[in-house]
């Protein structure tokens, strides 16, 4: 089992991240100080949360390109609720954000499940529709810090045991998803649907409904992140988190989630997100312009899928060899 772990994608990725952090810290010792590492983790938390939802969607052979637009729309909705009812408890805001996000995810899910439209088309469409809706409900205006109530913006930054609430929510999401993926029937169903949809039907799994649930989960997480994002940066407008969906997909692909479905893990999504987070936070430290970020994540996606493809090919040969030996 230990040997399996050592040659796994997660272990390689962990090694890459550690080496990266090591190289940066030889030049800039300040980077490896626990407070800074906690900062990097906190900064990456939204990406981690979204990558978990995206991982589940990709495992079922779908893709959700609307997560960033969902995040922005839900963020705007809760910000507007906050300006109208500043005394609403944060628990209610959190519930509203998750339910609203889940409803948006359910729209994607229904279109994929009942109308059998390819997920990439559905989510490309809903991506622009959600962004447009933000403009419609907000009239293109910004909601700024002074319009939000203090407890609304303070919640993600509140410290518990030395870590901000935002980080704890990311940790909590990782734990919940780990249990969901490895210990529940739904978690197994995601992999069955992605691995072989026809076989999944014969084992009594409703493929469409399983995909629907994947989209709802992804939507709920996007909604939750929408509130956290808006509260943390204390601003809501049409273009927040623009293009973030690509970073989320990149985190999954780097984390070894196969776009062909059926392969992926919580640890992979977490490490993929952390890799991008470390790169993003290291760029200003080593004095490279943040304009490099986009090209770096693009290259990381391409290298990661090339590696995924090679890993899968090797596995194929191995099975053949075994079959030859057994006969």
């Amino acid at each position: 089992m230990i040997r399996n772990f050592l040659i796994s994608r997660e272990a390689i990725l962990l090694l890459v991240i550690l080496v990266l952090v090591g190289i940066i810290s030889t030049r800039f010792p300040g980077f490896i100080v626990p407070a800074n590492l906690a900062n990097v983790f906190n900064d990456t938390s939204p990406l981690i949360i979204l990558a978990l939802g995206q991982m589940v969607v990709i495992v079922t052979r779908c893709i959700d390109l609307s997560v960033a637009a969902n995040l922005a729309l839900t963020g705007m909705v809760v910000a507007m609720i906050n300006t109208m009812a500043p005394d609403l408890p944060i628990v209610v805001i959190l519930m509203v954000a998750m339910v609203f996000g889940a409803v948006l995810g359910a729209v994607n899910g229904i279109l994929v499940w009942k109308f059998e439209i390819p997920p990439i088309v559905v989510t490309l469409g809903t991506m622009t529709i959600f962004r447009g809706l933000i403009f419609l409900i907000s009239d293109g205006k910004w909601i700024n810090a002074h319009e939000m109530s203090p407890n609304f913006t303070a919640f993600p930054r509140a410290q518990i045991l030395g870590l901000p609430v935002l980080s704890w929510i990311a940790i909590g999401a990782v734990v919940i998803f780990f249990i969901l993926i490895t210990r529940t029937a739904l978690g197994r169903a995601f992999f069955a649907v992605g691995g072989n949809p026809h076989a999944a039907v014969y084992t009594g799994i409703n493929v469409g409904r399983t995909r629907f649930f994947a989209f709802v989960l992804s939507g709920a997480l996007a909604g939750l992140t929408g509130y956290l994002w808006v509260a943390r940066y204390a601003v809501a407008y049409v273009d927040i988190a623009g293009g973030f969906e690509l970073e989320v997909v990149a985190a999954c692909v780097i984390g070894g989630v196969s776009i062909a479905g059926g392969i992926g893990s919580v640890g992979g999504a977490l490490l993929g997100a952390l890799f991008l987070g470390v790169v993003k936070n290291a760029l200003p430290v080593v004095n490279i312009s943040p304009f490099w970020q986009l090209a770096i994540s693009g290259s990381a996606i391409i290298i990661a899928i090339a590696m995924n493809a090679r890993a899968n090919r090797r596995k194929g040969r191995f099975i053949l060899k075994q079959a030859e030996q057994s006969t």
Partner: protein
């Protein structure tokens, strides 16, 4: 139904009937409907010069859409086209800074477009990677390079005669772009519908394995299609840069969506195997008319994108909804 029972139609459908029932006819009716509504909605609509201006809304995107249609019919997709425009435009802008003339700029534009297409083609056809993720990756990479080069700056100072490609008129109200659009429509229509190469594209989209066994060089055809898409994005970049007269790294953001919408609206099956160039041509006009009409009614651009998103989903969902209702009734 008893398996031995077969449905035998009383008579075969004539070509005329098929034409009347086709997607293209439906789309044409929609286009005429929008055209009529627009001319009632705004008194400024039915003006030759206004209509000529309206064509700029879609000509550049439609040029890419022709190549994209072929690519999607063959079962692949290229989401990096808008980023190819950004990179091509950046390269052309950089060349201008070194004193390149119009001919050089155009050649560089075509070459960079081709190279970007070739990069996608190598990753998809030679390394065998799925085109959706590859082009999501190159989408970040190509635009990312533009951001590295330009940052928050912009390239200006294109030579005066370079403006012809995006702003020039060939004759009366007919711009260079609309003429180019018509020429490409004819070329792509002939290639797809009248040549062996076109048949091969359909064969690959319907069943790549069967196509391979019937002697079609599947990977080579796909390679050429990615090259063509890159080339068309390069040509679109030349027209767009010439029209805008400047290059920013955020040029043509979100165009990949509009191009794919145009192709799907034109009746091309997103899963590959079917579609036609006349359909894409009419879809280009429909989208151009919708955005132009909404523009005349002072609808902001981002709200138009809601319509485009709804159009994309609605166009695919509607036929399925109708068959679902029909099945429930039966």
């Amino acid at each position: 139904m008893n398996p031995t029972e077969r449905f035998i139609p009383d008579r075969l459908t004539t070509p005329m009937q098929r034409l009347l029932k086709s997607w293209e006819t439906l789309l044409l009716l929609v286009a005429v409907g929008i055209f009529t509504m627009n001319s009632f909605a705004s008194p400024y609509f039915l003006d030759a010069w206004n209509l000529s201006d309206a064509t700029f809304n879609f000509t550049e995107k439609a040029m890419i859409a022709f190549a994209m249609a072929l690519l999607i019919i063959s079962g692949e997709i290229d989401l990096s086209v808008a980023s190819i425009i950004a990179l091509t435009s950046t390269a052309m802008g950089a060349a201008v800074q070194y004193g390149a003339g119009t001919t050089d700029i155009v050649l560089i534009g075509l070459l960079v477009g081709l190279l970007c297409g070739a990069f996608n083609a190598v990753l998809v056809t030679i390394m065998g990677l799925p085109s959706i993720v590859v082009t999501i990756g190159t989408m970040s990479l190509f635009r990312g390079i533009s951001y590295i080069v330009l940052g928050d700056q912009a390239y200006r100072g294109y030579p005066a005669d370079f403006a012809f490609f995006g702003q020039g008129y060939v004759w009366w109200v007919f711009s260079f772009e609309i003429v180019l659009f018509v020429i490409f429509a004819i070329i792509y229509g002939v290639v797809l519908h009248k040549t062996n190469f076109g048949r091969a594209i359909y064969a690959i989209g319907n069943n790549a394995t069967a196509a391979q066994f019937s002697g079609i060089r599947v990977q080579r055809v796909k390679f050429i299609l990615f090259l063509l898409t890159g080339l068309m994005a390069g040509i679109a970049a030349i027209c767009l840069t010439s029209r805008l007269g400047s290059t920013r790294p955020s040029i043509a953001v979100g165009w990949e969506l509009e191009v794919v919408t145009m192709v799907v609206l034109g009746g091309v099956n997103i899963l590959g195997g079917s579609g036609s160039i006349p359909g894409v041509v009419i879809a280009a006009f429909v989208m151009g008319l919708v955005t132009f009409g909404l523009g005349l009614l002072n609808v902001p651009g981002i709200v138009m994108s809601i319509f485009i998103g709804l159009l994309l989903i609605g166009v695919i969902a509607l036929p399925r909804l109708l068959t679902m209702i029909a099945a429930r009734r039966a």
